[in-house]
Structure formats: C-alpha cells, structure tokens
Amino acid sequence: MSSFPIGDRGPSSMPASQRPPVILIVTALLFGLAALAVPRFGTLGNIENVLRIAAILGIVACGQAIVVILAGIEFSFGASAALASVVIVMALPTTGVVGAFLLGSLLILGVGMVNGLLVARFSVPPVIATLGMLMIASGLAAWLAGGLPIDAPPSDAFSFPARGRVLGIPVPILCAAAAFAVLHLLLAKTRLGRGWYLVGANATAARLAGLSVPRLVFSGYAVAGLFCALGAVILTSRVASGQPMLAPNLPFETIAACAVGGLPLGGGRGNVLQVACGVLIVAMLNNIVVLLNLPTAYQLILLGTLVIGAVLLQRDWAFLGNAVRLLTNGRRG
C-alpha cells in the first residue's frame, strides 16, 4: 500500500490552483505596459475610473461565470438589465427608491429563473433560451418606455449605488469586492458550487451520481440573475434613467471576461481569480481605447478579437502546462 504515496505535498504534486496563475501575470503585465505607454492611464483618477467600470462588469461577470461553469451561456443580461432600469424608474414614484431597486432586482431574478427553467426542465439549448429572453426583455423594455429613455428624478438615495462612497471607497467597487467574495464562497466552499462544476463537467454522470441536475442548473441561472440584478441597480443609478438600450454589449463583455480569464465555455472549470483578471483585462482595454481617442468601434473589434484570441492562447497555455507537468512527473519515475 505504501508504494503508492497519495497526497504527498511534494512540489510536483502541487495542485494546479497553487501554481502561480499565469492570468495574474498577464493582467499585471498589461497594466504595467499600459501605464508606461498610454498617456493618463496610470493616473489615480483613471485607475479609479477603470475600477468603477470593472466593478459593474465584474459583478455581472460573476453571474456569467456560474452559467459558463454549468456549460451554459447567458445572453439576456444586458436586456434584462435594461428592462429592470425602465421598471425601476417607472416604479420610483410609487415604491420609493429601495422598493424600486428591489422590484427591478426581482424582475432580473425572474428572467434568470425563466432561463433556468427553460434550460433545466425543457432542455432548450442555453444559447437559444437566453437569446430568446434577450429579445423578449429588450422588447418589453422598449415597449414600457415607449422606445425612449425616461429620466429619474434626481435624489441622493437613487445615486448612492453608483456615486456613493463608504469609508472613502466607491460603493460599486465595494459591491464588486463583495460579489467576488460571494462567488468564491459559492464555488469553492459550498455543495451547490461543487454541484455546478460536476453538472458542467458531465450532466449525465452527475444525474447518475445522484445529483439533482435540473435543480442545480436552475439555481445556477437564478443566482446568476441575482448578480446581474446588483449590476443593473448600479448601472441604473449611474445613468439616472430608465434606458431601454442600457447595456447591449454587457453579455458579450462578460462572456469575453470569462473567456479571457480562462474559463472554458465547455464548462466544469474556473475560479474567481480567473474571472476577476478577465474582467480587469477587458475593462483596461476598453479604457485604453478611450484614452487613445480611438472610435468606440475599436472597442467592439478589440472585444471580438479578445474572445477568440484568449481562448486560442489559453489552449496553448494549457498545453504548455500539461507538458511541464508530464515532464516533472516523468522525472519522478
């Protein structure tokens, strides 16, 4: 028995998660290069600006990450955030600020639950289900708002989620930190999170291992909706209006962030650090395009290239990683 040492903590048996993560190095490198090469990038004001953008993106990306780990994809985030923003502003006079935000959040949770139901119960491919919900939610948002943005009456409470500060730190950044912490807890420390990984890795095997696959998938889309709801509240507060076209690129940006961070869209893999780094990279690149005074069209081109490039690059990283592991393994005999 002792001829098969298991769980020895020798260097080569170190789990992949404990090796220095490549993605962190890439993020730092990009930051360093941008700070050197792009004028005004390294200023404190700009860094806060990047973090603010990254915060909203990051909160929603947490939701996207759950769906991606479940081997799904979520396209309806932007549209449901837009729908929520319209409903929040419309409900404001009757329900008050907190009630309106709550109502908007519940709405997004509802959209997430419908997506979850379609995917989990009725086996509709995630792409089809969430794209359909995108159409429905953005149609409803435009219909409710009459096709035009509706302004919210200015108030401190309403602008708090986007512009407030607690202990000098902007609220969105605090919210993002909390979102990442919750995501980490969910993924690494709970039975629910483990279930998501297993279902994403092999849904049939998960069912036969006794897991309730529909319940896990449903809960994944619902929790993802909650993250998106927090992001939508901050977004709505920031634009101070109900916008039927609030964040059309939000699903693309969050998918890009997950892909850049190294989550395979095939599911079953991924951690918070990867998501956070992916979000920072996307946010920094968007910011660089703005700072260089390039047309915003470049943001789209960059984003598209990034999704493809990141997935391609990561495959090569993975290949390199495997090669190294096999080499060290071989040397041990």
């Binding site: 994809i73 379609l118 009725f122 086996s123 509709v124 491919p125 792409v127 089809i128 289900a129 794209l131 359909g132 919900m133 995108l134 159409m135 429905i136 939610a137 953005s138 149609g139 409803l140 435009a142 219909w143 096709g147 690129n249 693309f252 998918i255 890009a256 892909a259 869209l265 095939g266 047309p295 915003t296 069209a297 470049y298 943001q299 789209l300 081109i301 960059l302 984003l303 598209g304 290239t305 990034l306 999704v307 493809i308 997935v311 391609l312």
Partner: protein
C-alpha cells in the same frame, strides 16, 4: 430517410397555416393579395439568412454572426455600388464568403467552439461595420431607384432579386440532396468523429459549411441594401436570432445531420407571417419583438420535443442504456 425527418418538415407549413388563420380572423386585410405580396417581399432576406444558418446547424455548428455579416456586407456593397455602379453589389456575397471563411477557419482549423468563434466575429464585425460607415451612418445608394426596382418590381410574378433568392434556396437544397459536398456536411453533423475515419477532412468541411453560411448572409446583405436603397451598417442586429429560429422551425436539427432548405425557407416565411400579422393588428413593434423572442423559445422547445419524440420512436429494442 423520410421516417426521420418527416415530422420536422411539417412544422413550418403547419405553422404558416395556423398563423395565417389566426391573423385572418383578427387582422382585417391580412388575407389580401397586397399583404401576401408584402410578406413575400419582406421574407426573402430572412430566407437567405436562415438557409445559410441551416448549413452551419447541419454541420453541428452554430453561427450567431450572420446578422453582423449581412450588415457589413450590405454596407460595403453599397459603397462599392456607388463607385462602380450597381454591379458593385456583387461585393456583398464576396464579403460574406470572406467572413464565413474566417469563422470556418476558426472552428475547423483552430478548433474553437462555434459559439466562441462566431460570437467573437459578431462583435468584431459590428465594430468594423461602424468603423467603415463613420459610426453607423447609412450609405445611400446613388442609383437607389434602380436598386429598389430590382427588389420590388415583379418580373414574371416575382422581383428579380426574389427570383435570385429562390434560385439560391433551390441551389442549397440541390447541394444537400444531390452533391457530395452536401452529403459530407450532413455526415459531419450526424457523426463528427466518424467523418474523418471514412476519409473526409472534417476541418475542411466545417470551413465549407461556414463559408456557405457566410455566402448566404452576404447575399442577404445585398438584398437588404437593394430594398432599402442604402447600406445599413447597424441593420441586421437581431436578424441572426430570427434566422436561427426560422432554420429550427424549418426542421433543421440542432444536433446536426438533418436539413432541408425548402422547409427552412418555409420556416422563414412563418416568422415573416407572424411579424407582418402583428404589424397589421396594430401591435407595437416592440411587442412584435417580444413575440419573435417567444417564437425563438418556441423553436428551441420544439427541437427538444421532436428530438425526444424521434429518439423514443427509433430506439432499437435491444440497445443498452
């Protein structure tokens, strides 16, 4: 073969009849000749997009960039037409082919997941369309009258461009049923692992499928430009979804291997009947969009239902679980 696909092929025609009856009952003037002509006229863009999408789906792929391809192709074609005359519209299918080649190369050679590859090109192509058009400005055709006449004035019952689209659909169906390329694409979709084992180059076939998809999207872009008398760089958003819905309603299996271009065209007509019908009943265009969303969800549910129905019927008695 018939046993497998027959129920799939009946969905779109049945849908057209059902939707037609409903709208005839609630929308005055729905059954008029003029309205039928208007549906027929508007549907062709979607027919072309859906036919292209069909090739991607048949090869067990997926292309969500077709709307963006059509918009970019239509815009570039409008620019070309303004420089070289209407013949410049030929640029659209070429641009489509190029975009399809790119998608196909990413999927077939670099082994990217179709959703990753086409999502990337969707976003990037949108950006390029904005870039070439001065941030989304329409590009009016200098010979707009001539172009719209090609798209609207009937010759032998149909406008010339509609004849062209019809020919493309028939060509697509011919390709599927009578050409080795079509069979190979269906083989790829039916069993992607095996297609290499019998000596075909799976990657090359994927490239072909996406090329066909891009080509049809480019043709749709040319048609869009001719109908509008202008290149519309931001048009086509959402069209990819309608195209996917139309292709599925037209009997294309999301699991690959089953496709029929004529049924897919019927699927596109169904979507158009619903849109036009809603328009006639005076429903807000935004709610019409909601309906399209519901149609997409419905198509997804339909595919699932058909698949479980067919697997139940065809389950060999002695197959192990």
């Amino acid at each position: 073969m018939n046993q497998v696909i027959a129920p799939r092929l009946l969905v779109a025609p049945a849908g057209i009849i059902a939707a037609g009856l409903i709208f005839a009952a609630i929308a005055p003037g729905f059954l008029s000749l003029g309205n039928a002509a208007s549906i027929a006229g508007q549907a062709w863009v979607l027919v072309l997009l859906a036919t292209g999408q069909m090739f991607a789906l048949a090869a067990r792929g997926f292309d969500i960039s077709v709307g963006a391809i059509a918009a970019l192709a239509g815009t570039l074609a409008a620019m070309a037409a303004n420089s070289f005359g209407l013949a410049g519209l030929i640029v659209a299918p070429l641009v489509g082919l190029a975009c399809g080649t790119l998608n196909g190369w990413l999927v077939g050679r670099l082994a990217l997941q179709p959703i990753v590859a086409t999502l990337g090109s969707l976003v990037a192509l949108k950006g390029i369309a904005l870039l070439v058009s001065d941030d989304g400005q329409a590009v009016p055709l200098t010979e707009a009258g001539q172009a719209t006449s090609l798209a609207f004035d009937p010759v032998l019952g149909l406008p010339p461009l509609a004849w062209l689209a019809l020919a493309c659909v028939l060509g697509a169906q011919f390709l599927l049923s009578h050409a080795t390329l079509g069979k190979r694409i269906l083989m790829l979709g039916a069993n992607p692992e095996a297609v290499g084992l019998v000596g075909a180059d799976a990657g090359a076939l994927q490239i072909r499928a996406y090329q066909l998809c891009g080509l049809f999207a480019g043709l749709a872009g040319a048609l869009m430009t001719a109908r509008a008398g202008a290149g519309l760089p931001t048009e086509g958003a959402g069209m990819e979804l309608q195209a996917i819905a139309a292709a599925i309603i037209g009997g294309t299996a999301l699991s690959g291997g089953v496709a029929n271009a004529i049924a897919v065209a019927a699927g596109a007509f169904f979507v158009q009947v619903v849109l036009t019908g809603l328009n006639l009943t005076g429903v807000s265009p935004f709610l019409a969009q909601v309906t399209v969303g519901l149609v997409i969800l419905g198509s997804g549910l339909m595919d699932t239902a058909l698949r479980s129905l067919l697997t139940r019927n065809r389950q060999p008695k002695d197959v192990s679980p």
